[in-house]
Subunit: 191 residues, 2 copies
Amino acid sequence: MKLESALLTNFILSTVPISSIEAREITNSFQPMKLKKGDFLLRETHISDDYIYLEKGLMRTFVHDLDGNEITTDFFLENSMVFEVTSFFNGVRSEANIQAITHCTGFRLSYQELNKLFHQKSAFRDFGRAILVKAFMASKKRNYRMINRTAEQRYRELLSTSPQIFHYAPLKHIASYLGITDSTLSRLRRK
Amino acid sequence: MKLESALLTNFILSTVPISSIEAREITNSFQPMKLKKGDFLLRETHISDDYIYLEKGLMRTFVHDLDGNEITTDFFLENSMVFEVTSFFNGVRSEANIQAITHCTGFRLSYQELNKLFHQKSAFRDFGRAILVKAFMASKKRNYRMINRTAEQRYRELLSTSPQIFHYAPLKHIASYLGITDSTLSRLRRK
DNA sequence: ACAATTTCTTGCTTTATGTCAAGAAATGTT
DNA sequence: AACATTTCTTGACATAAAGCAAGAAATTGT
């Protein structure tokens, strides 16, 4: 048994009610991977083949808007799953980039490996579905917050739930994630 | 074979590459259902047990914000799947309501039935996952639009992609969906 | 350690959207 | 048909956030 994967096994067990043996089997299907700060896990126009458990580090997804500006659409904290749903599950070219904000370590599954597990192991089916549901829920919550919270409230919420992000990510990434300009974010910070 | 389910079978076949026989088997697991205009498929605080193919009609999801106002978070057009992901898949009380805007007809699966199919039929696994992925993609796109489009652009986009909504839904539902007030929407319409 | 680059702050001005309120139009009910 | 209710429009005013620009501070590369 690989020592490094204990965090992943715990993550799986905390996600879905399966046995430790099943969780360890799933863990062992993943392969270790790492990224240096600034490295890309995925570049736009490429096809994603990475379904990642991020053990340590911080990552972000960003897209380019019509004027060529980067818009950060998601931050990924450690002890969570990282994947670009559209490109990974549909095998199409990605419009999004995924980049390491800090040095990152984690574990990886390819689409082929994931599919094999998905059809063979009922425990993995439940896990995979739970991960999809969780990410979908997070996206819906984000939508809702954009509508019924002010920029300042969104800022405060992010600050209190994910202070790590403020420690490592530049303001412009955070600002575009919050849907405001970096000038506005700078002013919010002063308060 | 039930005549009414041909649209659902076609929908399944257009979603995922499986055989007609498999699609028809899946179709036959669903039970017909209908709702009158204004009826609720789901009320907040209840637990959703409905995974619906909406064959005909128009529905919406809404939540209440802190001031008690209704915020429409989604419209469902005909020939699509309708479900409240959080409550349905996690078996928790819903914060959202799902309401029929027009008379609706469709086909239903309970969570128990869905799970049985999910673990028994690989064709259904692929379908179920594709539906989750599609809904998740739509949510991400919506997030992105809220950040990098003006209210007017979002209005025009909705108008051109889903004119049915404007035919049946009152302005205040559409306005809250777009993240603006009904006054602002009224002014946008004038143009 | 220095220069180059990027990030952050701040002031001024403009614009989009919200708030409140009132009346008109449409819709539903008996 | 008459009334009640809801929906839609419009005006006057307030405000949050954007746009632009310049300088200060921090970070990075050599």
